[in-house]
């Protein structure tokens, strides 16, 4: 990886030497070595995290670059969950409570879309958001906004499909009671969504887990730009391909720990509040 850059630099240097021919000294062996070393350091520090520190040290010392990456990852995935829930839950509830021709096909399609490949979502959004694409004027490609959009698209089917299943099951139990109380369509939707809140928490967690663990879509539409769109997953992919395995493993461990912690907290709140409300 370094050799071609080095060659290019040498060529450039020779050209420079020819242009300013009188005063320039010729490139010596030592000079070349020095240049190579500097380039190597430059290449490695493209990722701002110091590679001589172990992953554990990075975590323990609260490395600002690492924290920024974690914060961006969580922020993007959290925003995606909120957006996908705001759109997906009403869709799921609507699908659970209405009957229309083609509903079964839609349900099957929605369930199938739970397994949407992230890279395909990334590619599709890339084509939409790139300069020449139909939404190119928005200028959001390679920004966190595009990453939020990508993850929203990715987890919307998960949240909508799980909501549909939950609400439909609950509707069987509630149908007579709500009909006897003459509850209108919108009221049914909101009542069922609210009364299914503990089950729906699981749907949200499934969505969050998928978003936080996904690398393909954010890589393509985010671009893995250091300090701007680099997330934990894209950083792990990068560090692995660079051969910086300790750092990759450290980031991976952080990712797993965070997902674990969020699930534990959510599960705990769920159990606790379920005990309170029955």
């Amino acid at each position: 990886m370094i050799r071609p850059i080095l060659t290019a630099c040498c060529v450039l240097d020779r050209k420079k030497a020819k242009v300013g021919s009188q005063s320039r000294k010729t490139i010596t062996e030592e000079g070349l070595h020095l240049l190579a070393r500097r380039l190597a350091v430059a290449c490695y520090s493209i990722g701002t995290m110091p590679d001589h520190l172990s992953a554990l040290q990075l975590i323990l010392t609260g490395d600002p670059a690492l924290i920024a990456i974690v914060r961006l990852s969580l922020g993007v995935s959290f925003a995606a969950v909120v957006l996908a829930a705001a759109i997906g839950m009403p869709i799921g509830a609507l699908l659970a409570l209405t009957k229309f021709p083609g509903r079964t096909i839609l349900v099957v399609l929605l369930n199938a879309m739970m397994g949407l490949p992230p890279v395909v979502v990334g590619l599709a959004l890339y084509l939409l958001l790139s300069r020449s694409g139909p939404l190119g004027d928005l200028g959001i490609l390679f920004t966190p906004t595009a990453m939020v959009v990508a993850q929203t698209v990715l987890i919307l089917p998960i949240i909508a499909a799980l909501t549909r299943q939950t609400v439909e099951d609950l509707w069987v139990e509630y149908r007579d009671e709500l009909s006897a109380m003459n509850v209108a369509a919108v009221g049914r939707m909101t009542t069922l969504l609210w009364d299914a809140r503990f089950s729906l928490l699981t749907a949200l967690l499934a969505g969050f887990g998928r978003a936080a663990a996904e690398v393909g879509a954010v890589m393509i539409v985010g671009g893995n730009i250091d300090g701007f769109t680099r997330t934990m997953t894209t950083a792990v992919a990068l560090e692995t391909s660079k051969g910086n395995l300790p750092l990759a493993m450290g980031l991976g461990a952080v990712l797993i720990l965070i997902v674990l912690a969020i699930n534990a907290i959510a599960w705990g709140t769920g159990v606790w509040s379920q005990r309170l409300t029955g």
Binding site: M181, V183, R197
Partner: protein, 240 residues
């Protein structure tokens, strides 16, 4: 919001209900007008629950015609239903009642006060903030009654509300039902407990195999049943 609409009299004309080849209700003709509580009596599977569901408008008859106050629109306006196993919403007892009040169109400003009054009426004032699903079976049934009364009904339909309750809880429910009847609400209630019939009923509808076999005053029915099915049922024979 409701205006002068009334759900009474409830009239069933030649109403039949079929599920596939099975006849659940067979050409029922019936008029329910204001008055003393009507108890629907009959063995299991005689069609008591189905008849009540049709009366509520929760199901549509296969043939025949049902009207509420001469309207055929099944939307419940001034009638309410208490199920054998009521479904409690996952919120506090008081919130269950305010929910019913909201659905019945009560103004927001009155809901809290009226919910408290209704909970007092069913003896659950001290359970207002308990989650409804954590109440005992008898308390849940009383909460279901409070929710039904929140609709300010003229017609209250109850499907064996005491079937799963112990005697104390049964007595509490019966007292609420009697008080409701005395306040002018028409009660139509399914039961297979003859003691309950004697305690509550003003008149009895006897159903067997989906047919309305007998309609009589309580003591007439209990002491001088006119059909062989009713005689067998009262003797304690198995009527199929």
């Amino acid at each position: 919001m409701r205006g002068p609409l009334s759900d009474l009299p409830l009239v069933l004309e030649g109403v039949s209900l079929q599920a596939g080849a099975t006849t659940i209700l067979d050409r029922i003709c019936l008029t329910i007008a204001p008055g003393a509580p009507t108890l629907i009596v009959g063995p299991n599977g005689s069609g008591k629950t189905s008849l009540l569901r049709l009366c509520m408008g929760l199901a549509a008859p296969t043939s025949g015609r049902i009207s509420w106050g001469s309207r055929t629109d099944p939307t419940p306006t001034r009638r309410a239903f208490v199920f054998q196993r009521p479904v409690m919403l996952r919120r506090a007892a008081a919130a269950n009642v305010t929910y019913a009040l909201a659905q019945a169109g009560a103004p927001r400003s009155q809901r809290t006060v009226r919910a408290a009054a209704l909970l007092g009426r069913v003896g659950l004032a001290n359970r207002a903030q308990r989650p409804a699903r954590l109440l005992s079976g008898g308390e849940q049934q009383r909460l279901a009654l409070a929710r039904a009364l929140a609709r300010d009904p003229e017609l209250l339909l109850l499907d064996e509300p005491t079937a799963n309750l112990d005697p104390a809880a049964t007595r509490a429910v019966e007292e609420i039902v009697l008080a409701a009847a005395q306040s002018g609400i028409k009660i139509v209630m399914a039961s297979h407990d003859l003691g309950q019939v004697r305690r509550l009923a003003g008149e009895v509808l006897f159903l067997a195999r989906g047919r309305l076999c007998e309609r009589a005053g309580t003591s007439d029915f209990l002491d001088h049943p006119s059909t062989p099915e009713a005689r067998a049922f009262l003797r304690g024979d198995l009527v199929i």
